[in-house]
C-alpha cells in the first residue's frame, strides 16, 4: 500500500488523539471479518450525521438519541433515527414518560444488539457532528462497547468548539457561550422552540452548515 493511499485512508482520523487513532486501527483489524467491517472504513462521501443525546441523571439511565443525516446543502430531516433506550421499560416509568413526551419518541427500546446495530448501520462510516459531541457520544459509546464490543469509530466534529473558534476569529472579545440556543441566535438561525433530541440534532446540523459556509468565506 503506497504512502499516499495510506494517508488518504487515515485522513479523517488525524483529528483524534494518538490513542484513539491506535484504538481505531486495532478495532478495524479485529472486526475485519465481521459484518461491521465497513463501519471502520474511512468515509469518502460528503454526508455527515448530526447526533444529539439526552441521558437522565437518575439510575437506571434512560437515554434518548437522535441522528439526522446532512449533506453540504441540506439537512435531511426526513432521514432521522430516533429512539429512547432503557434496559427495561418497567424501570423508572416517570423518567421514561418524561423522555417519551419531551422527545416525541416511539415506544422505548432496550439497548440490545439489534437496536444498536441498527443505529450503527444508520450512521455508517459517516463523520459525526454535534453540539458538545463528547458528552453525547460518551454514554452511547459505553452502550456500544458493552453490547457490540466496540465504540463508534467515526470521525467527530464538535460544533461547540467550531463555533467558539469561529467566534473568536470574528469577535475576539466575546466569550463563546456553551449553550446551543445562544449559538443559534448568534448565527441568526431559527431558535429552538421545543427541546427534543431531534430538534437539537437538526439545529446543530444547521449550525454546522452555517459555520462551514462562514469558514469557506473567511478562509
Amino acid at each position: 500500500m503506497s504512502g499516499m493511499r495510506l494517508l488518504d485512508r487515515h485522513m479523517t482520523l488525524f483529528s483524534g488523539s494518538l490513542r484513539t487513532l491506535l484504538q481505531r486501527e486495532s478495532d478495524r483489524r479485529r472486526w475485519a471479518d465481521s459484518p461491521y467491517a465497513w463501519l471502520f472504513q474511512p468515509y469518502m462521501g460528503e454526508e455527515a450525521v448530526a447526533m444529539a443525546c439526552q441521558v437522565s441523571a437518575v439510575q437506571p439511565a434512560v437515554m434518548s438519541v437522535a441522528a439526522v443525516v446532512l449533506s453540504p446543502r441540506q439537512v435531511h430531516t426526513s432521514r432521522t433515527w430516533v429512539a429512547t433506550l432503557v434496559a427495561s421499560s418497567a424501570l423508572a416509568p416517570a423518567t421514561l414518560r418524561r423522555h417519551h413526551q419531551l422527545h416525541a419518541t416511539h415506544s422505548p427500546r432496550s439497548p440490545d444488539a439489534e437496536c444498536l446495530s441498527e443505529l450503527a448501520e444508520f450512521i455508517g462510516n459517516r463523520p459525526l457532528v454535534g453540539w458538545q459531541l463528547e458528552n453525547t457520544i460518551e454514554p452511547l459509546n459505553g452502550l456500544f462497547r458493552n453490547v457490540l464490543g466496540f465504540g463508534l469509530p467515526n470521525a467527530q466534529v464538535d460544533i461547540a468548539k467550531l463555533h467558539g473558534r469561529q467566534l473568536r476569529r470574528l469577535h475576539p472579545h466575546i466569550e463563546a457561550s456553551s449553550r446551543l440556543g445562544d449559538a443559534l441566535t448568534r448565527w441568526k438561525l431559527p431558535p429552538l422552540t421545543w427541546p427534543s433530541v431531534v430538534s437539537e440534532a437538526t439545529a446543530s446540523a444547521l449550525l454546522y452548515l452555517r459555520l462551514q459556509r462562514e469558514i469557506a468565506l473567511t478562509a
Binding site: 441540506q74 439537512v75 426526513s78 421545543w194 444547521l206
Partner: protein, 605 residues
C-alpha cells in the same frame, strides 16, 4: 427547533395523517445570497417552502431590469408548478440567505395522488384561487355569510293566495287576519298581486265597492325570483323594477313572497338602506343625501367580502336609479318617451363603483320637437354634479351639443367615425358601444346600437384598428416588484383593466353582443363560442381582481384629506397570495393580448 408551519394553504387541504407525512418527509436546505435554487428549464425535483429569507423569480431571457417577475418570502411555496410541468419556467434565486423546507418530488406526487384537493390547489385556475382568497377573508371575522350567502328561501314569506272572484271585503279581512300587506290573486291564466295600497286606492279613488272582485285591482306583471337565488339579487331586482315585493317561483308553482322590508331588516345594517332612500327621495336634496352615501355602502359591501360582480350590479342599479330620478326632476314629462338618456364608459358597462366622471349622452326621436333641450340638458348636468358625479374632462356630457342628437344624427355620426378611423373617432365609437340607457325611451338607443353593429361588425379593417388600442399599454408583469420607485406602484388600469375591457368590447362588437358589462359580454362570448368558457371565466376573475385592487386603493384615498385618484397598486403592500393572484391575472392578460393580436392581425402594427 424549526417546526414546519402546516396551518396554512395548501396543507390545510390534507388530513392530519397527510400533514404528519409532510412533517416527516421534509428536509431543510440552506441557500446563500444570490445562489440559484432552481434554474430555468431544470426539471423540478422538489417543492420549496420558505422558512426564512427571500427568493426572487426571474426570467433570464429578459433584460436584467425587467427580469424579475415574482417575489417570495417566508411562508411562500414554490417549485410545485415546476414538478407538475416537468421543468421550471423561470429561475429561482435567493435574494438573501434562505432557509427552506424541501419536499422531495416523490413525496409531492404521492401527496397529490392521495389528496386531490391538494393537487387541485396547484393545478387550479385563477378563479379557484380567488375563491379561496375570498373564503379566507370571510373567515377573518366579517359576517359575509349574513349578507352575501343568504338565499331567497331564507327570507321569504308564505304566499297568501286569494281566489280572483273574492271581493275586496274578503281580501281586506284575509290581510288583516294574517298581518300581511299583499295577496296573490289566482286569476284564470296568470298570477296577480294586490297590496293594501291597491285596495285603498281602489276603494277611495277608484269606483270600487267592498263587493267588487279583487281581480279588478290585481297587478299581473310580477317580478319573480327562484328560491335558490341570492337575496342580494332580489334586492337588485326590486331596485331595478321599482317594486317592493318579488314573487318566489319554482318552475310554475308559487313558493313565497319576498318583501323589501323583510330584505332590509334581514340585512339590517343602515348601509343597505341607501337604495330605499334613493327610492323615497322626493327632492333633489334628499336624492343628493342618498347619493352621498354610496361610498359608505361600497365600503360595507367590500368589508363583508361581497363578490365584486354583485356589488357592481347593485351599484350600477343604484346609479341608474339616481340618474333616472335626477332626470325625472329636471326633464318635463312629455319628452320622456321621445328621448333616451344614456350613460357611457364605465358607467355604461356598470363597472363604475365609486362615482367617476359623468359620461352621458342624449338620443332624441327623429320627430321630436324640443326647443329648450340645450337649456334643460345643462340643468341636468349641473344636477348630476350636485349629486356627486364630477364633470367629464373630455366634455362627454349632455350639456355638450355634440353628444345630443336625433337617431339619424347619431347614425350619421357613426358613419363619419367609421370612415375617419382615427384615434378620436375610435374612442367615440368605443364610448358609444358601452352606452346603456338609464332614463327615457331605451328603444331609441337600440336603434342606434343596431346601426352601429350593422356598420361595424363585418368591417375587418375597422375591427383591426379598433382592437389595436388594447395593446397600447404594456403588461406591467415585468415591472413587478422591481420598480425604480416602488412606492409609485403599478398602473392597474392601463396594465390590466383596459386591455381586458377593450379586447372584450372589440369581440362584442364583432359578434353583435348587446350586453354592455364586460362580465356579461364574456358570458355571451363564451355562449357564442368565440371564447372558451374556461378562458372567459379566467378573464372575468382577473378583471374582478384588478377592479377590487383598484377599488381598495380608491377607498383608501377617499379617506385621505386631498382626494387624488390614482390607479396605482403598490405590490409590496399586498399579501403573498394576492401577489400570486396578481401575477397570475397579469399573465392571463398577456395571453389575451396575444389572442387579440392573432385574431385581429395586429402583429405588424
Amino acid at each position: 427547533m424549526v417546526e414546519v408551519d402546516l396551518s396554512q394553504l395548501p396543507f390545510t387541504l390534507m388530513d392530519e395523517a397527510g400533514r404528519d407525512h409532510v412533517r416527516r418527509g421534509m428536509d431543510l436546505a440552506y441557500f446563500d445570497r444570490d445562489e440559484i435554487i432552481l434554474e430555468m428549464g431544470q426539471p423540478g425535483e422538489s417543492v420549496f417552502l420558505i422558512h426564512k429569507g427571500e427568493v426572487a423569480e426571474l426570467d433570464p431571457t429578459l433584460p436584467a431590469a425587467s427580469a424579475r417577475i415574482g417575489h417570495y418570502t417566508a411562508g411562500d411555496l414554490f417549485g410545485a408548478i415546476s414538478i407538475l410541468n416537468g421543468k421550471s419556467r423561470y429561475r429561482f434565486q435567493a435574494e438573501q440567505e434562505c432557509l427552506c423546507y424541501v419536499m422531495p418530488k416523490a413525496l409531492f406526487t404521492q401527496l397529490c395522488r392521495h389528496y386531490p384537493p391538494f393537487e387541485q390547489f396547484f393545478k387550479q385556475s385563477l378563479s379557484h384561487k380567488a375563491r379561496l382568497l375570498t373564503e379566507k377573508r370571510a373567515e377573518g371575522g366579517v359576517t359575509m355569510a349574513g349578507f352575501m350567502l343568504a338565499k331567497v328561501n331564507e327570507c321569504m314569506r308564505e304566499p297568501l293566495l286569494i281566489d280572483a272572484s273574492k271581493s275586496i271585503h274578503d281580501a281586506v279581512r284575509q290581510l288583516h287576519d294574517s298581518h300581511a300587506d299583499s295577496l296573490l290573486v289566482a286569476t284564470a291564466g296568470a298570477l296577480g298581486m294586490v297590496t293594501k295600497t291597491d285596495l285603498l286606492n281602489g276603494l277611495v279613488l277608484g269606483n270600487c265597492t267592498q263587493a267588487t272582485p279583487v281581480e279588478a285591482l290585481a297587478n299581473v306583471s310580477l317580478v319573480t325570483v327562484a328560491p335558490e337565488q341570492y337575496l342580494f339579487e332580489a334586492l337588485i331586482l326590486m331596485t331595478r323594477h321599482k317594486v317592493a315585493r318579488v314573487v318566489v317561483m319554482e318552475g310554475e308553482s308559487v313558493k313565497g313572497v319576498v318583501e323589501l322590508m323583510d330584505v332590509l331588516s334581514f340585512f339590517s345594517s343602515r348601509s343597505y338602506v341607501v337604495s330605499l332612500q334613493v327610492e323615497q327621495a322626493s327632492s333633489l336634496e334628499a336624492l343628493a343625501a342618498a347619493s352621498q352615501r354610496t361610498p359608505e355602502l361600497v365600503n360595507a359591501l367590500m368589508a363583508q367580502g361581497v363578490k365584486l360582480r354583485f356589488a357592481m350590479d347593485l351599484l350600477a342599479a343604484l346609479n341608474g336609479r339616481i340618474m333616472s330620478k335626477a332626470w325625472s326632476f329636471t326633464v318635463p314629462e312629455q319628452y320622456h318617451t321621445q328621448s333616451c338618456l344614456m350613460v357611457m364608459g364605465s358607467e355604461g358597462r356598470g363597472e363604475q363603483i365609486l362615482k367617476t366622471d359623468q359620461d352621458n349622452g342624449l338620443i332624441l326621436a327623429d320627430d321630436c320637437q324640443w326647443p329648450t333641450v340645450a337649456e334643460e340638458m345643462n340643468t341636468l348636468t349641473e344636477t348630476l354634479i350636485q349629486l356627486g358625479y364630477p364633470p367629464c374632462p373630455g366634455n362627454i356630457m349632455v350639456s355638450n351639443p355634440e353628444w345630443v342628437g336625433t337617431v339619424s344624427q347619431w347614425k350619421n355620426n357613426i358613419t363619419k367615425w367609421v370612415n375617419a378611423r382615427d384615434g378620436d373617432s375610435l374612442m367615440k365609437l368605443a364610448i358609444l358601444l358601452d352606452s346603456h340607457g338609464v332614463a327615457g325611451n331605451p328603444a331609441l338607443l337600440d336603434q342606434v346600437r343596431e346601426a352601429l353593429f350593422e356598420r361595424c361588425s363585418h368591417d375587418e379593417l375597422l375591427l383591426s384598428y379598433f382592437a389595436r388600442a388594447a395593446l397600447r399599454f404594456s403588461t406591467p408583469l415585468t415591472l413587478f416588484g422591481s420598480l425604480k420607485k416602488p412606492q409609485h406602484g403599478i398602473d392597474i388600469k392601463k396594465g390590466g383593466i383596459f386591455p381586458i375591457v377593450h379586447g372584450v368590447r372589440t369581440m362584442a362588437l364583432e359578434r353583435r353582443i348587446n350586453a354592455t358589462s364586460t362580465l356579461d359580454r364574456l358570458d355571451a362570448l363564451a355562449a357564442d363560442g368565440r371564447l372558451d368558457r374556461r378562458f372567459a371565466d379566467d378573464l372575468g376573475e382577473a378583471l374582478a381582481l384588478f377592479t377590487e385592487l383598484r377599488l381598495r386603493q380608491q377607498l383608501q384615498e377617499l379617506d385621505n384629506v386631498n382626494p387624488k385618484r390614482t390607479n396605482r397598486v403598490v405590490v409590496q403592500e399586498l399579501s403573498s397570495l394576492e401577489r400570486d393572484l396578481l401575477r397570475e391575472a397579469l399573465r392571463i392578460v398577456k395571453d389575451f393580448k396575444q389572442r387579440l393580436s392573432h385574431r385581429y392581425h395586429l402583429e405588424y402594427s
